[in-house]
Every structure is written in structure tokens, then in C-alpha cells.
Symmetry: C2
Subunit: 259 residues, 2 copies
DNA sequence: TTTCTATTTGGTAAAATTTACCAAATGAAG
DNA sequence: CTTCATTTGGTAAATTTTACCAAATAGAAA
């Protein structure tokens, strides 16, 4: 995956390729079957958990960098990514949380990290993303030791200011959910009203009337009823629906709300 | 205000005090008497116009930095400032728009700028602010040559990506207006319904029913009716109102909308 | 003093939207 | 052909939004 030589070169010369002092951290939310999770990883050699993050190449846009970072750290591609806030408190990184001597003792490849560009003050741009966690097997990538889904209410305490990042990201996601086609990323092309209802309930963390909510989606033209049904065992077969992206982008402009 | 020595020192050694590669740019909106304006400045030696901006000290939070930058560049203090988006396209600064040779020829104090930290790639954090432009006389400060209010629909084309910044800032301001006590910054402690109505119309750039809009503000408890009237010449004297901050912060949490 | 004018404000009816929830329809299993 | 769990059409009530009328009012003009 990544050789010692690559890591050493990143520590010593990374600032030539990447912009120093700025990073991107991604809160990647995963939904499946009524559950909301978030992807938490460990940096190689570090003790605690944190959000997957990385640096911006000098040739990239921020959105491109966020996409690449997610791909490098988790092997997930093509996520819906959204910038939501930039974090820059001078004490956002508690340097005493990082026992560099112990890390170097454990992993000698980090021997030059103390005087490297990585130890400089860093401002971090927060992105959130959303995906179906059952379709995706996160893989620890460059410099990350692990990479796992946690239930949103069972996230372990995170390093730095990443707890706050998760909180703010979730708030931003929930606001956007009302007028951006986020649910589209979490459902198959054809889905039932019950399914889309469950997505919104899980992401918003609150109950929505099972009858009125889908009715409004149809009324607003955000989804289209198809002439097909799905077989779901010994019950009435539900109709299938598909998204109407044209209406969604209009809703975005006008600022429709989905209660 | 600032000596040549200070400018030279900033160019040569500023990176020790400030974090390089990151700046803050502020879209400062000004309201008064139905009019919406924005503060546009000129950097000393540069040709075009741009938003007032600056760098972040290594000891500051982002909000503190934004406040200091506004103060340094415009002599305005105590603004309501809000971070809204971070801009980082690698080509957001068109270096060929900057004729450094000509600037140096005009102002020799800039002679070392070409090889300085200021010419490096920079990501910018966007803030917006709002104030009453009649109460405030902007003063060009450190390294800015001018500093003036422009009608929001008569802003000259701006350098870099600052046109986009103005657009995004205004959009963010308008969204926030529905649940943050922004109008409070633009009105005296005691104000009439007509006055607050005018503020919202100007900031949103659209008409709001003169009767229903204030009625809703009262109904939601966002403003309180006082037992005083104001004398306004040969017409019926309007009642005075004041803000109810407690209700406002509750509205913020619940996400009330003001149509 | 009375009339006039411009503005503020109480009010209300109609329209639209949201909320709550009933009961019929449905598809397969027993 | 009955049963069961689920989907879905429907509707009535509650609430909110929209549109707009007309009375109240304060000083200026007559």
C-alpha cells in the first residue's frame, strides 16, 4: 500500500506537493436500513480516533482534494461531499495529546516528524459526506491504521476538535437534507415510499408521519411514481418511485422545506 | 498609520506572526434607510478593487482574526461577523492580474514582495458582516489605499474570486436572516415596525407584506411592543418596539422561518 | 376649529399548508 | 378463503399564510 520510503518522503518533502498549514477533515456518514453511522479512523502510531483527513495538493480545488483524501484513506470513491465549516482555533490541536517520542519509538519511520511541516499549526476545512455503508468496505489507506463505521450515538471520543466537527457536520447535513437530493445517494434508482421515509427519519433523527411525509414528496414533484411494484413477502406490494432531479434543483433554488 | 519599515517587515517576516497560505476576506454589508451597500477597498499599489482581507495571527481564533482585519482595514469595530465559506481553487488568484513590476516601480517599499510568502498560493476563508453604513466612516488602513461603500448592484468588478465571494456571502446572509438577530445590528434599541420591515426588504431584496410581516414578528415574540410612540411629523405616530433576544435564540434552535 | 393627507394598525376572510388519523386495498401464507 | 402485516387513498381539523379593507391618528393646512 505505502512504503516506508513514501512515508519518509511525505514527512520531509510533502510541503512541496501539498499546501502546508491547511488540511481537510471529512465526516463521512453512512446510512443503511434505519441506521446512521460515521466513519472513524486511526492515524498510524496515534492512540485515539479521529476523522479521516489529509492535505490539499497545490494543483487541486478543495472539492477535488476532499474526494481524493476520502479515497486514499478509506478506498471509497464518488461520494457526495459538501464543505460546511472551517476550523482554526489556535488550540484546536492539543500538542500534548501527541506523544511524538512514543510514536517514533514504535514506528521509526516517523523519526523526522518533530521538525517537519506536519507539526506546524494547521487550520482544517470540514467536509461532510454521505453514503450507504453496506455498499462500501472502508480500507485503511495512507498513514491510517484503521477505518471503521460507528453508530452515530456510539462514537468514541475523538482527538483534537473532531467531536465538534461531527456535531457541526451533522447539523449542516440535516439542514441541507431539506433541499438537496441527499437521499438519492442512499437509495437504489427505484425505491419505495417506506424506504425513503426511513432514510429521512434516520438522518434527521426524528419521526416523520409515515403517510404525510411521502405524500408531500410526491406533491412537490420531487419523486415520481412508477408503474411497478416490488415483491415484499406476505404483504401488500408497494409501488416504486424514482427521483425527479429537475424538481430537486428547482426546490434548491426556491428553498423548499420538508418539515 | 503605517511606516515603510512596517510594510517591509510585514513582507519579509510576516510569516512568523501570521499563518501563511491562509487569508480571510470579509464581505461587509452596510444598510441604511432602504439601501444595501458593500464595502470595497483597494490594496495599495494594485489597480482593481477587492474585499478587505488579511492574514491570521498564530495566536488568534478565526473569528478574532476576522474582527481584527476589519478593524485594521476599515477602522470599524464590533461588527457582527459570520464565517460562510472557504475558497481554495488553485487558480482563484490570477497572478497575471498582478503586475508586480509596475507595483514595485510605483512603490519601492514592495521591492521584496516577489520572493515573499505573500506570493504563495493562498486559501481564503470568507466572512460576511453587516452594519449601519451611516454610523461608520471606513478608513483605509494597513496596506489599503481606499475603502468605500458601493450600492450592492453597482459594485465594480472585483479582483481574484471576490465577485463570487460577494455572491455567496449575500446568499448566506439572506439564509441566516430568517433565524439570526441580524436586524438588531441595524436598528436602534427602539424602532418602529416600518423600520424593521424596511431592513428585511432591503437585505432580502424582495417585497414583504407591510402588514403581515411585522405581525408575524410580534406573533413569534421576536420583538416586544413598548408603551411609547415616536413623533414622525404630520402622520399617525407609530409605536416603538424592541428585540426579544431570548425568543430569538430559541428561534435559532428551532429554525423558525420568516417567509 | 375643522378638514385634509399620509401613515399606522386592528381586523378578517379566503387560500394554502400541515397535522392527525381512519379505513380500504393488497399480496402471500396458512 | 381467511388472516395478517403493510401500503395507500382519503378526509377533517388545525394552523399558517396571503390578501386586503377600513378605522385610527397626528400634525399641517385651511
Amino acid at each position: 500500500m505505502h512504503t516506508n520510503k513514501e512515508v519518509e518522503d511525505f514527512i520531509e518533502n510533502g510541503y512541496k506537493t501539498y499546501i502546508p498549514h491547511i488540511s481537510i477533515d471529512c465526516a463521512i456518514f453512512g446510512y443503511h436500513d434505519h441506521q446512521l453511522k460515521i466513519l472513524v479512523s486511526q492515524i498510524e502510531g496515534f492512540d485515539g480516533y479521529c476523522l479521516p483527513g489529509g492535505y490539499i495538493k497545490r494543483t487541486e480545488t478543495l472539492d477535488e482534494a476532499a474526494g481524493r483524501i476520502v479515497e486514499e484513506k478509506t478506498a471509497i470513491t464518488g461520494l457526495y461531499l459538501q464543505q460546511y465549516k472551517t476550523f482554526g482555533d489556535p488550540d484546536r490541536i492539543k500538542w500534548n495529546e501527541l506523544d511524538t517520542d512514543r510514536i517514533i519509538a514504535k514506528l521509526p519511520v516517523f523519526k523526522k516528524i518533530k521538525s517537519s511541516w506536519l507539526m506546524d499549526q494547521t487550520i482544517s476545512i470540514g467536509y461532510y459526506a454521505i453514503t450507504d455503508f453496506s455498499l462500501v468496505k472502508p480500507q485503511p489507506g495512507f498513514m491510517s491504521a484503521s477505518c471503521e463505521w460507528y453508530d452515530i450515538d456510539k462514537v468514541p471520543p475523538l482527538l483534537f476538535d473532531h467531536d465538534q466537527m461531527v456535531k457541526d457536520a451533522l447539523q449542516a447535513l440535516r439542514q441541507q437534507l431539506y433541499y438537496a437530493p441527499i437521499a438519492e445517494k442512499l437509495l437504489p434508482k427505484k425505491f419505495t415510499l417506506t424506504e425513503i421515509h426511513a432514510v429521512y427519519e434516520a438522518l434527521l433523527g426524528k419521526r416523520l408521519d409515515i403517510r404525510n411525509f411521502p405524500k408531500k414528496l410526491v406533491f412537490l414533484g420531487l419523486i415520481n411514481k412508477l408503474n411497478e411494484k416490488r415483491n415484499i413477502g406476505p404483504h401488500r406490494a408497494p409501488y416504486l418511485y424514482s427521483f425527479n432531479n429537475r424538481q430537486y434543483s428547482r426546490a434548491l433554488k426556491r428553498g423548499i422545506s420538508l418539515t
